[in-house]
């Protein structure tokens, strides 16, 4: 897994590539915690190039969603592949997260 961080206006963007599982999710959590510590908003996680995500990855995103809510910030996810979207549906998370189709839409104010 690889995580790249960029700033787009007020948005802090994390571009995640590869597979997110028990082995790699702590690294993603570390990136997100740094931004959460700075109370960044909106946080955007681009999952376009995520080929696989398991419940450890989902847990990391849920933690971030709960943390960002504590300071009134926003978390947006974008670029979910059909496979990843199915997992969100299966876990009944599609209505919990702010899901956007494209990165441009997600980083817009």
């Amino acid at each position: 897994m690889n995580v790249t961080q960029e700033t787009h206006g007020s948005a802090t963007l994390f571009i995640v590539e590869g597979q997110v599982d028990m082995h790699t999710s702590p690294e993603l959590r570390g990136h997100l915690r740094t931004a959460l510590g700075n109370q960044a908003s909106p946080l955007v996680v681009d999952l376009t190039d995520v080929a696989f995500i398991d419940s450890s990855g989902l847990a990391t995103l849920i933690e971030a969603l709960q943390a960002v809510g504590k300071y009134g910030g926003k978390l947006r996810l974008c670029g979910l592949s059909p496979e990843v979207r199915k997992l969100f549906d299966l876990a009944q998370l599609s209505t919990i997260f702010d899901l956007r189709d494209t990165r441009a839409e997600a980083v817009a104010d």
Binding site: M22, F52, S55, S56, L58, A59, I62, Q92
Partner: protein, 149 residues
């Protein structure tokens, strides 16, 4: 029909999460042999990942130097996965899923396994650990089984 014993392929890995992609690679090849499409294969990969993750977390308490065996039995339109650990037997009731409408991190691994696989059985094995058997039928076999039940 399940294949002969010769069609059983064993993959033994240490209980370190870095081996999860390797486990998925082996299972993906098994799913390909059994003729599963990309969608079902992805679901099976998720199920086996959740199962191995549970072994590391619960049977081995996070220790990453223990042994995990995975037998992949690729039949025609049917895939069986036998996951064997040598840790403490964990009653599956103790790792049951949280209700999905309770949004909080964790607690959905077992749900993801059971919602994907057609048969899921936890048995205490002769080593004191757990053997988890997971079976996925192809679409035709699942329909036939439904007709007979």
């Amino acid at each position: 029909m399940m294949p002969a014993a010769l069609d059983r392929v064993r993959c033994s890995v240490p209980s370190h999460p870095k081996y999860l992609p390797l486990v998925r690679s082996v299972v993906q090849e098994g799913a390909n042999l059994s003729g599963f499409d990309a969608d079902l294969t992805q679901r099976i990969l998720l199920a086996v990942t959740e199962a191995v993750t549970n072994v590391i977390r619960h049977a081995y308490d996070g220790r990453d130097d223990q042994r995990i065996d995975l037998d992949v039995i690729a039949g025609e339109h049917e895939l069986q996965l036998d996951l064997v650990d040598y840790g403490q037997f964990v009653d599956p009731k103790h790792i049951e899923s949280r209700p999905l409408d309770e949004v909080r991190p964790g607690g959905i691994g077992v749900h993801l396994i059971k919602s994907t696989m057609d048969r899921v059985e936890y048995v205490k094995n002769e080593h004191g650990g757990t053997t988890l058997t997971m079976v996925k039928h192809g679409a035709a076999e699942a329909a036939a089984e439904k007709e007979t039940t």
